[in-house]
Subunit: 337 residues, 2 copies
């Protein structure tokens, strides 16, 4: 093959907010395909907040990206060479090939995607990791009951939009928190949330939450941390559950931000808070995927993707994601379908 591979590697570990110079676009040869291997052409690259953590040189549930190595990331692509009997040229597959155009698929973890169920990009979104995060986090950790109030932050994001719709289908009052009128209108009018608090517009988040949640908050699905979550904490009901999914507001922090402690009476509310990582629930993915696919086909579950063209634009799109500039599940179209 004469074509070249393009990939984006981690050039520097960011100091606070990532900069374009923390990434480097490189041209390399397309890797050789060994026996039993497949070569995949990446079509969609998923951009997700967790990637900021992988840019840090610190212990976590997954190893950091090595300096000079390709940035990690979930991908949807097409098999273009196959030396494996389980995969044919033309198969659409989900994998974690990272920020590049071509990669050798890991045949142990490669999953075939049926393009007749939904657009293939959804394998990076509502029918992929973010969708599973929403489903398992809400039902396995949040355990909402009919009639309860569920609040979700980053409500129009990849995970938030799914959490809210699922909670509504489960008979809950659903309140989103999002930044900007457009996003708030979307989650209310298109996704059917009962209310949405615009954290950029309101000057008093606490009162806005009180208005939106007249009966308090029973489940808080937290994607953002920081002052937004502080405000929700004070509205939590006795026996509330907090699903700690992410803390995007803190991912670029150099030093821990100072925040007010919870009031003394808080212990008596018996709040349960639990951090979780979607992969802990891998055993639940097949049935969850089945249900989510059905809900999408029935038109009960909608989704919105924010697709940016061109691998070279991935760093800028990712930096925007950390500032909340995306609107829906952010992906990069690396190659044509």
């Amino acid at each position: 093959m004469n074509k070249k591979n393009h990939r984006i590697v981690l050039a520097h570990r960011p100091d606070g907010e990532p900069k374009e110079t923390d990434f480097r676009l490189e041209e390399t040869n397309i890797p050789e395909v060994g026996p039993g291997q497949v070569l995949v052409r990446v079509i969609y690259l998923s951009l997700d907040p967790y990637m900021r953590g992988r840019m840090r040189d610190e212990e976590s549930y997954a190893p950091p990206v090595v300096l000079g190595e390709v940035m990690t990331g979930g991908t949807v692509g097409e098999v273009i060479v196959s030396n494996h009997t389980g995969f044919a040229v033309g198969d659409i597959v989900g994998d974690r090939l990272g920020w590049q155009e071509y990669g050798i698929g890991d045949t142990a973890s490669l999953r075939k995607i049926d393009p007749t169920i939904a657009p293939i990009s959804t394998a990076n979104g509502i029918l992929g990791m973010p969708g599973m995060t929403a489903y398992c986090g809400l039902f396995e950790v949040g355990r909402p009951k009919v009639g309860e109030t569920v609040v979700v932050s980053a409500a129009s994001g990849a995970v938030g939009q799914v959490v809210g719709q699922l909670a509504r289908l489960a008979g809950c009052r659903v309140v989103g928190i999002a930044g900007g009128e457009m996003k708030c209108r979307y989650v209310k009018d298109e996704l059917g949330f009962d209310a949405c608090v615009d954290y950029k517009l309101t000057t008093d988040l606490s009162s806005a939450l009180e208005d939106a949640c007249p009966e308090g908050v029973d489940v808080y699905f937290d994607n953002v941390g920081g002052p937004i979550s502080d405000a929700v904490a004070l509205r939590l009901n006795t026996w509330a559950r907090v699903v700690v999914c992410g803390a995007i507001s803190q991912y670029n922090s150099l030093e821990p931000e100072l925040a007010p402690r919870l009031p003394p009476f808080f212990v008596g509310r018996r709040v349960q808070s639990r951090g979780f990582i979607v992969s802990d629930f891998a055993a639940h993915f097949p049935p969850a995927m089945h249900i989510m696919g059905k809900l999408i086909r029935e038109g009960k579950l909608k989704y919105r993707e924010d697709i940016v063209d061109g691998l070279e634009n991935a760093p800028r799109a990712f930096m925007g994601l950390l500032r909340g500039e995306n609107f829906g599940k952010l992906q990069v179209r690396v190659g044509s379908e």
Copy 2:
């Protein structure tokens, strides 16, 4: 009866640290004993941190003490008049008669205490609410596993001393946090904790914890909140459980103290944190009490009480409790055994 009752009422709601003038000692008549009622002479009054919360005029799991009314509190006493067939004069009973010498026992909740099992004061301590708090909080919420590291703050206190001994009996490495050499030596040498960090002595709590917990912390039984708990949080292992039992360091706060937020990577540790109130576990008390009594008789479970003489000294003793001045389960001897 010609004798008078003495009682301590809530005179003012404290503004920060309670003062002597927030309490008032009153002389009243001993109440009339109606049909089906019993009159109890209080022997021991339990003083506990939760009482600070009842002095606030705010919604909680229990109503606040009304201004001018007797301070709430658990008591051990002797039945001196009985119009109830279930109780005889001379019976020793546990109740919640509050800060006073005589009270009408609530025959629905009154429990008879067998003075042959252990000193009757233990019904306010290791065989009462604090002991149940330790047992249920540790086993139902903390769920320690053999070989894990359990850290408990206020380690020589009414709850902490029991938590640590139970965790040790359950095969865990147990590290206490206490203030002062005497308390630390007690929990190590007398109660058999593996280590104890003296938060008053150390200038670097984080390193002290690292030394004491070389394999990190799996269960943190938190009685204090504040900076001590911040330091423990950073040593929590993946899958750690935090038993949020109390936050005594914050009970006198007028304004929420500012504290550093947890670092972004914390979500990946999947920490479960749960606030609890001992009464939620009432169904577990009879078997727990049986086991605790057995462990005490076998000499496997020790306890230390800090008994102050005279009802009039209750306010000062209580104020000292909030500053960590007691050494063991604090009680007031209101009358002779």
